[in-house]
Symmetry: C2
Subunit: 191 residues, 2 copies
């Protein structure tokens, strides 16, 4: 198939950008991991920035798939929000090693003053809008976006510190606190 190599490059670059960072990952790194020559790259991508765009688009598509799955599997909006919160535990090992894939990429690109930073931030927007919709369905109306951003921020902070200290107990404790916070919010709704 015409796009098989291209897909393998993107899959590998996605992983390496996460584990090593975008700038620290060279064409040679990706090429040797994929098992192709450096020169072959440029048949599929013009520049390194092109690969970055491809990786971000890949992540956007994968994230949308995951959110759709949660939408189907979750019985009610609160359950679905808990799916989001528990991803911190599900991906705990990777997060302690490499941080959150969304947050670390956005931060790196911000520092590099890279044109693709807003593109990376749109990964956050995917979660933000999905969470907002769940809160709306719970009846939070105008507050929904603020609650979505709040919990998104909480999860980012947990990822950053769990990574800095490689602390699994902290991560699990904070997941419990976030679930308790969600229950509190729902309780407050009913006065």
């Amino acid at each position: 198939m015409a796009t098989a190599t291209r897909d393998r490059i993107l899959e590998t670059a996605d992983l390496l950008f996460y584990q090593q960072g975008f700038e620290a990952t060279s064409f040679a790194d990706i090429a040797s991991a994929v098992g192709i020559s450096r020169g072959n790259f440029y048949h599929h991508f013009k520049t390194k920035d092109d690969i970055l765009d491809g990786v971000i688009n890949r992540r956007l598509a994968n994230t949308e798939q995951m959110l759709d799955r949660w939408e189907i599997e979750g019985d009610d909006p609160a359950d679905r929000i808990r799916s989001f919160i528990h991803i911190l535990i599900f991906n705990g090992e990777k997060i302690r090693k490499f941080g959150c894939p969304v947050g670390t990429l956005s931060s790196e690109l911000a520092k590099l003053n890279h044109a693709a930073q807003p593109n990376a931030a749109s990964l956050f927007t995917l979660f933000r809008n999905w969470l907002r919709r769940q809160f709306e369905r719970l009846g939070f109306a105008d507050k929904s976006d603020e609650l979505a951003m709040h919990i998104l921020g909480r999860s980012q902070g947990v990822a950053t510190l769990a990574n800095a200290f490689n602390d699994d107990a902290f991560l699990r404790r904070e997941v419990d606190l976030m679930c308790a916070w969600l229950d509190d919010q729902i309780g407050l709704l009913r006065h």
Copy 2:
């Protein structure tokens, strides 16, 4: 004075590492900003990692000074914790541009698998222990470290999202929520 140039190098490197990241900052960047030649560097530092160590030590010293100041200026432990929370607003512009200097350095070094990562995390420990002491004085006893980590995590998440979206309103809203959380915790202490 013998160490004047060394100090200027560290001051400049500190700033550039924050604004551009450690790896993206070259000797040439620092040299031109300081106004010295590249060769002159190696009289003061053997390697780039030596500069990183110097920068981290500089940040450790500056952070200790700031925490000591808060200790003196704050009337009670709750006020001091509010000083910590409000640094997000005080440094809001820089945070929206470059993120939190502690969190972003720790994350970058974690991805680079750099030997100095625990060293960078010790900057977090400085805040963590200072916050823990404030919570202890408020009477939280065993829970003090967990509360310190909680609020440290919250501030990290706020910095990451405020940077990703360049969102000042979110930052201020979350600072208010963190202060409200603090008041709640103190209220719960008295049953």
